[in-house]
Amino acid sequence: MTDLAATDPLPKPKRDLAPILLPVALALLMIPLIGSTSSWLTLTAASLAMGMMIFIMASGLTLVFGLMDVLNFGHGAFIAVGAYVATLVLAPFAASIQADSLWMNLAVLGPAALLSMAVSGALGLVVERVLILPVYGQHLKQILMTTGGLIVAEQTLYALWGPQIIPMPLPTSLRGSFILGDVAIAKYRVLAMLIGLAVFIAIQLVLNRTKLGLLIRAGVENREMVEALGYRIRRLFLGVFMTGSALAGLGGVMWALYREQVHASMSDDLTVLIFIVVIIGGLGSIGGCFIGAILVAMVANYGGFLVPKLALVSNILLMVAVLMWRPRGLYAVTSR
């Protein structure tokens, strides 16, 4: 029988704040361990910037997982393609990038990022139609197909651009740091934080304020019922897949600028981080993905500073700890 009669007052839905407080608690916990306030602030800013970039790359993947239960092991290809495409714009306009004018720098960076997103999004369309459509519902085949796609994409990038690492210097106006007392925060990290925050807010607005967003949220939870209401979820999925691919492309450009270099296998390490973020965030949860990305970046930065030898396994340990606490991730959206 039901726990409430129709006329009984409804218990107020509980706000689950514990995952939100987790990065805050972790950051505060690190103050005494790190000792120096300026080092702590620098590491925290680095964590937030890195977390935002990982979030941008992972946000599409978590929706793809949640909405269609598709395991896309080739997501990293969009990151690398995005970064390489940006070089097509940045290389010919190197003079504008080196100019000491923020507006001139942005006038080149903006179109480069937009072109990267467009190409990655279009590649997403091809991958979904050619590689994923024939293997819906077949996880093993999805892994094989998308891993194969990643290898083909990487080898194509080698064939087109060569095996060498391509330098991608930061624009002049984004070099250096903002100095606040004895704290230095890199300008580019501030920009990364702002872009990441803007992407997060935009995704949240679409998901919570539009009918399209309602459909995505409903589809993540029960795609069969969404279809029974008359909506063609495959088209919706294609749109989400392309958007996720485009965001991965944007993330690729940002990551390449962060590292100041591009190479075809740049996404290999990132893919592991992204999967950890998606899993600990909870499949299909954008909020969980956001917090997960910040946590992963914090563990990498704080861990790398305090116990460098643990850096290689720190994120795996984080995933184990989170899944022991919440086996379906920080915010469980789907029942998978």
Binding site: T2, D3, L4, A6, T7, L10, P13, A218, M225
Partner: protein, 240 residues
């Protein structure tokens, strides 16, 4: 009375299991057709096959004269078929309002229709902005039915709406379904609650092992205790 929905020789396989084994049935326009049978007889599979959620491996399904067995689920829904699954399947992360906004596919919510629904299910008005996941089982069932009737539908497929609900809520649901019936809706209703079946049903189909083993008037089955015992293993009287 014309038949709105007809199934002829419909077979459905799920994996290697042969669930529906040649279903022939007709649902007359403007009537409530009860689909009864023991657990595992194939009732839910029949509804899901009509809805296109499981593909019929053989046979014909006709809705208002049009073949629909090879259509995708969204296309069947767009032809005016509303579906209330056994699991209710409300979107628990969405509010009551958002659930209904999604169900009103072709435009904004119709206030007159909403008021009509709130007349049966006042709880939905009260919890309009609450997350559906925090509703009780009965309230979720109300929302699930409201979602199916928020827009005019040619045919409603409803799967065990009274399952697990308190008697007071069952009565409210029966009243709601009676009102929907009075408005001329055509309903194919799977139900294990024989009291509800007798109250609502015009005609009845009884399933066993993936086939229809009895068809007739609901009133006649309700009056024939030996027939109930033979077909269903229990009499209606045992459920009153």
């Amino acid at each position: 009375m014309t038949d709105l929905l007809k199934l002829s020789g419909v077979h459905t396989h799920i994996g290697r299991y042969h669930i529906l084994q040649g279903i022939d049935l007709a649902v007359p326009q403007g009537q409530v057709t009860m689909l009864l049978g023991r657990n595992g007889a194939g009732k839910t599979t029949t509804l899901r096959t009509i809805m296109g959620l499981w593909q019929a491996s053989k046979g014909e399904i006709t809705l208002a004269g049009e073949r629909i067995e090879s259509l995708a689920t969204p296309d069947i829904a767009r032809r005016g078929v509303g579906y209330v699954p056994e699991s209710m399947a409300v979107f628990s992360d969405l509010t009551v309002k958002e659930n209904l906004v999604l169900a009103a596919r072709d435009g904004p919510l119709d206030d007159t229709q909403l008021d009509w629904i709130f007349g049966f299910f006042p709880a939905l008005r009260r919890f309009w902005l609450s997350r559906a996941g925090s509703l009780s089982g009965g309230q979720k069932q109300m929302l699930s039915i409201a979602r199916a009737i928020i827009e005019p539908r040619k045919l409603l497929l409803i799967d065990e709406p009274t399952k697990g609900l308190a008697p007071a809520i069952v009565m409210a649901l029966i009243e709601c379904l009676k009102e929907i019936k009075r408005k001329g809706a055509t309903i194919l209703l799977v139900e294990q609650n024989f009291f509800a079946a007798r109250e609502l049903g015009d005609t009845v189909l009884v399933m066993d092992n993936g086939t229809i083993v009895h068809r007739g008037e609901m009133a006649a089955l309700a009056a024939d205790v030996p027939l109930q015992e033979r077909l269903l293993g229990l009499s209606l009287e045992a459920h009153q």
